[in-house]
Symmetry: C2
Subunit: 211 residues, 2 copies
């Protein structure tokens, strides 16, 4: 009798729908992971409870204006460098930041069990950051489900279900337990990487040190 041990490189990708830097990663990660044959598990979570535990009532990019101004410019430069469409805003055009990504995140926990789940996630981020839409609007989320190839009514329903509220809560608890404090984050076992600018490092870590 023979046993075959297949070691595969794996990584968990933690993202929050309101996060600008998560947008860059969502648009980049699939191609980079495929190149390296790293299997990536996508986990939506909420930054709100993490920020609240630090005494923040909104994004640090709002609390610290110099940091916020820098972030918008930095994302604009990096998106341009990657060829990712990006429409910056800063509240002046009436759109608020951060957006409420709760419905998107709950729907994603259901959608990511389907083949079209990642495409759904990309479409939600594009709706928000390339097209300037409000992702707390069920119509916007429904359009993203449909465009990705899912059943709009069924998945909007799942997005409101207690099961998926619970999955999202568990994701957030698991993120905190692993030391995650911002988005995007990447974990390979206990090893944590934070920020879109650590994406390549994290994938290379997963590849060279399979968990």
């Amino acid at each position: 009798m023979h046993y075959f041990w297949v070691m595969s490189a794996r990584m968990t990708f933690w993202f929050e729908f309101a996060s600008t830097y998560s947008y860059l990663t969502v648009m980049r990660i699939e191609a980079l992971a495929r190149e390296r044959c790293v299997e990536v598990e996508w986990k939506p979570f909420l930054l709100g409870p993490i920020f609240a535990a630090q005494g923040w009532t909104t994004s640090p990019f709002n609390l610290y204006p110099a940091k916020g101004a820098y972030m918008w410019r930095d994302i604009e430069r990096r998106a341009a460098g990657y060829g990712i469409p990006f429409r910056p805003w800063s509240g002046k055009d009436g759109r608020k930041f951060p957006q409420n990504g709760l419905l998107a995140a709950r729907t994603a926990t259901a959608a990511l069990r389907e083949r079209w789940g990642k495409e759904f996630v990309r479409r939600v981020y594009s709706a928000q950051f390339a097209n300037g839409l409000d992702i707390s609007n069920p119509k916007v989320i429904g359009d993203c489900i449909k465009a990705a190839g899912g059943n709009e009514q069924m998945f909007l329903h799942l997005g409101h279900s207690n099961t998926h509220k619970q999955v999202l809560r568990e994701n957030t608890d698991a993120a905190i337990a692993t030391g995650v404090f911002g988005a995007p984050s990447f974990t390979i076992g206990p090893e944590l990487f934070w920020g879109d600018d650590r994406l390549e490092d994290a994938l290379n870590w997963a590849l060279s040190r399979p968990a």
Copy 2:
């Protein structure tokens, strides 16, 4: 009559002696700038007044423990990747973080007018982050001056002079006016880059868009 217009690529490098990420940049920047023929002006400044204006009484890495734990590990990984010696600490061995870099910064404003100034800066960072020494100790700073090739007594004296206190204050005001909120930072005209992980981007920006 002919006029010759020489365009040169230039960048300002803002650093704070207590900053761990500034250490990585200080050890890397000369070779990278030379490769690209970018002229870099080194400007020490103080993060203390910037943090205080945000209501912080210490480094955000102390205020937000998850972020702090991540930073120490991130620096350790990146220093190893660059082959830069690094001895992490976190207060457990009695050494405090952040260190008081006031004397180092004042002395640097004088030393950076000399040929050995950058070597002095590198030696101070190495004393702190590779050798675990206390850079608020005049003996440590004196040794760094001497090892870099300067006159220890003269420059320790200059480090205590009102002129160099004033230069450091002006650097800090100029940093704030340019939008600097952390260290290391890089500016090319109004364009700001923040973090050791933006060093290459900033140099490339300076090169492709001379100010």
